[in-house]
Assembly symmetry: C2
Homo-oligomer: 334 residues x 2
């Protein structure tokens, strides 16, 4: 299949990133990060999590952050939530595009560790969740499977198992008259590779040819961006990413394990291969550097260090190559 003409990117940096940082990030910095990202023309920016401050103290200021940001027309501003209280908090801000999602984790162990529920309990709860979403008038068009490519606790995940989980979530939604348009496959712990991406995406496309697929890819072992490319070559056109690679992976066993694919690296790849994103890359690279300054340690994004190729092309075309001889060799490059 050919590359898509255009992809949609969901920027998760403010939520994924701030949730894992050990040193507290000020509310003002969180607001600034969202506002700077707003200048880059994203389809969606995930602003914060409405979760219990007891479990995720970094997100205790969710309402303040939302109150402080300036919405840019054309961008959706979203949050995440695990339960009815969280949804109610998000709705109450009056300033977010609150969307529902039905999600399940493909790994039993990780499901219990991360949400305190088994897979079956999660699926059973989907009905109650739908009730809540309907009562609150929250539109819901997405189902999501986490750890869809593997799990640090359970190892490989069978792609057929993932398809069955998607099927059950879509079935439950249909029972309540909800039409699911988007299937998210999340590689939560960075287990995917281009071959396993093709296998699972292929199975899902075969089963639901009319639904859109979103990939949420972690770059835990350096394969995130190549997995995005492999998926794009299968026509997948909807991706999550986090500026500068904010996020990390709390489950990798190493405190500095890489998190989400870096948004600016994904946008740069797309620019190079002729896939539109609508995102302003020059501004985004500036925001990536600012994100590093905000968290106070290096982040994994590469283009912010290596430079945007288009800027080198622009400079090259404005310089005569004959004028740029050098009188001494500087180093031995290969």
């Amino acid at each position: 299949m050919a590359l898509p003409k255009r992809i949609t990117i969901h920027e998760l940096g403010p939520r994924e990133g701030m949730q894992i940082e050990k040193n507290p990030v000020s509310t003002a910095d969180k607001i600034r990060l969202v506002d700077r990202l707003s200048e880059c023309n994203f389809h969606e920016i995930e602003v914060t999590s409405f979760v219990s401050p007891k479990w995720v103290p970094q997100m205790a200021d969710a309402e303040e952050v939302v109150a402080g940001i300036t919405r840019r027309p054309g961008t959706r501003y979203t949050g995440i939530y695990l339960n009815a209280q969280g949804i109610a908090r998000a709705v109450k801000t009056g300033k977010l595009d609150v969307e529902g999602s039905l999600s399940v984790t493909a790994s039993e162990t990780f499901s219990k560790k991360n949400t305190n529920r088994s897979i079956e309990e999660t699926l059973a709860e989907a009905e109650r969740r739908i009730d809540v979403l309907k009562t609150m008038n929250v539109p819901t068009h997405e189902v999501s499977v986490m750890a869809a490519f593997g799990c640090n606790y359970e190892g490989n995940v069978d792609p057929q198992h993932v398809v069955r989980l998607v099927d059950r979530l879509i079935g439950t939604a249909a029972d309540y008259g909800m039409d699911i348009g988007l299937i998210q496959l999340a590689d939560t712990m960075g287990w995917g590779n281009p071959l396993s991406i093709r296998r699972l995406v292929g199975l899902v496309q075969d089963r639901w040819p009319d639904k859109r697929i979103n990939l949420h890819l972690h770059d835990t072992r350096g394969l995130g961006l190549m997995n995005a490319f492999a998926a794009m070559e299968m026509g997948v056109d909807d991706f999550d990413a986090a500026v500068a690679g904010l996020g990390g992976c709390p489950y990798a066993g190493f405190k500095d394990a890489p998190g989400n694919i870096a948004t600016e690296d994904l946008v740069h790849l797309c620019n190079e291969i002729g896939v539109e994103t609508g995102v302003d890359l020059d501004r985004l690279v500036d925001v990536a550097r600012e994100a590093e300054a905000i968290v106070g340690h290096p982040l994994p994004g590469k283009v912010m260090r290596g430079g945007i190729l288009q800027s080198y092309r622009d400079r090259a075309s404005s310089t005569s190559s004959t004028s740029s001889t050098s009188s001494k060799s500087s180093a031995v490059a290969l």
Copy 2:
């Protein structure tokens, strides 16, 4: 084309890495790095550069490093050199597998900056280089084109231009009765993407179907590993890499721009997709962490932070999943 059953990896960390480090690395540490790499079962380890200490003071101890290492049977130990003096120094150590190579840079500006010679001057000099190699009995089966995918000074590089350069080098070699078996395409400044890799590799394969291709890939903008995968899917089975991503790029305009693809990330990818490398990944990841300690700053390799997937699989299969429930949720993972 199918993935190769097996690839050959040339480990360049000791040479690429030590050449760019600002803080001096002790000769003892350089020797230790090579010796630790020797335990990982590489086909080749590039030990050092025989270049003028005036230009590259970090390499002034080339002879001492070679004298100090312990050769492991089955591994080739090589160095690089720009001229007859360098080759003579390498030969004189009596301890290296000295191999010749005819190389040229695809970018006129970069050729002058890096070697003080134009492309035509370099090609003309190839004849003298062959004389030297023959006189010193140095076997030569490789031609190499640097900046084959693009150049920070000149922008895009036309793949047909690269094919013409390869053709001229192979022609010159043939005139002197030298049979070239390997064509190296070096993405010196990280300009390649999977589409441009396929284009150039395809052209070279069409023109020289019987010759082997080596790719030397820099990860300056995060695409190095996906470029290796794209090339593997075209049957390319010979790659350079540097442990932990040692190396950096002195031409990127940012002092911490990523360098070569990280060897352990490449080996990990290969393990995951069923391509043999012969390299001991567990040991290599230990060496990657040691390389970070030696240079004293973080290096770009990811698997050393994210962990080897096989080790998670091994642990998962030795643990009952039912026993691993957790009494509290720790964070919200997606």
